[in-house]
Symmetry: C2
Subunit: 162 residues, 2 copies
DNA sequence: ACGAGATTGTTTGTATTCAAATGAATTTGA
DNA sequence: TCAAATTCATTTGAATACAAACAATCTCGT
């Protein structure tokens, strides 16, 4: 039962601020809990916590990159970045860590000397196959508070604003 | 080599492999685009991009911390962290940067010598009031692809899984 | 054929985000 | 009362995430 609200007497300041332009009205009306950005951050947090609990030694982002390569086959870093919604700098860190663990391999493109092609190794492919079931149940658990109808609705609405 | 024969061959292989561990089936069925975690990440990304475009010199997280202090008055770091869904280490970085810019002030609690009380400065309070209108329009723009009914639905569903 | 402009990969810097460890202070329970 | 457990703030380290700048390479229009 922490109550440090009275620790610093700011009541006077607040009363003085009560009679001012329309800026203050907007500020008074602002409710963090009702903002889409805050709710998205909290929902992501819960999902990431569930992911980490189930799949400890691979991050959600690393798994997403592996999933995309599994789906589409070998891709350049730029293409993989676009396909996973990661910018070039972020993706480089992700694939570097996957490469360091022997889960992906990189090879220069023969057609375009700028490009580096990323592919899953046999080990990476095997690991992804082994974890796919767990990944499904992670999504399931994240959506556990919702009915089947609500789950479809949420995914569809998120798709629209993504 | 026509596509449909490849499809049939693929199905045959899958059926033949049904006796093996279900791992590979789950891997084949996994669709990144349909996963709640991926959709949450992409929706957050779009929201953060809109935020940065509108309010360049303050991050969404920093603004959230200021909003909470504006709502609730002076809080300890631990309380503010709980109230904004940030862990202690994260919150410290956020309030340190706000303090460096003169937007919040820190003072030791008189009741509990472990605690550090965070409050908005006059400048921080004024800045928050000035930006509150922009913050509303950021949430508005993030939800722009949705109808009013869909917006209510999305916020309600996110609240349930947060 | 060639040069302007775009693309690719990389690096650097800043800002979350969390886990884990630590020391100081407070609260709890026997 | 007093030792154990908890809380608080802080630090460190690893992993996204994005902006900005860079050199190497490619594409396209003329």
């Amino acid at each position: 039962m922490p109550d440090d609200t009275a620790d610093l007497a700011d009541t006077a300041i607040r009363v003085a601020a009560a009679s001012r332009p329309a800026d203050t009205d907007a500020a008074e009306a602002y409710r963090l809990d009702a903002q889409i950005g805050y709710l998205l951050r909290r929902a992501s947090q819960r999902h990431l916590a569930i992911f980490a609990e189930r799949i400890g030694d691979l991050t959600s982002t690393q798994f997403a990159a592996m999933a995309r390569v599994y789906e589409r086959g070998p891709l350049s870093q730029a293409d993989l970045g676009r396909a996973t919604a990661m910018d070039a700098a972020t993706l480089k860190g992700v694939v570097d860590r996957l490469q360091a663990r022997g889960l992906v391999a990189m090879a220069p493109s023969l057609k375009d000397r700028r490009r580096v092609i990323v592919d899953l190794t046999a080990e990476g492919r095997a690991l992804f196959a082994r974890l796919a079931t767990a990944a499904f149940s992670i999504s399931e658990d994240t959506l556990a508070p919702l009915t089947a109808e609500e789950r479809r609705s949420l995914l569809s609405l998120l798709e629209k604003i993504a």
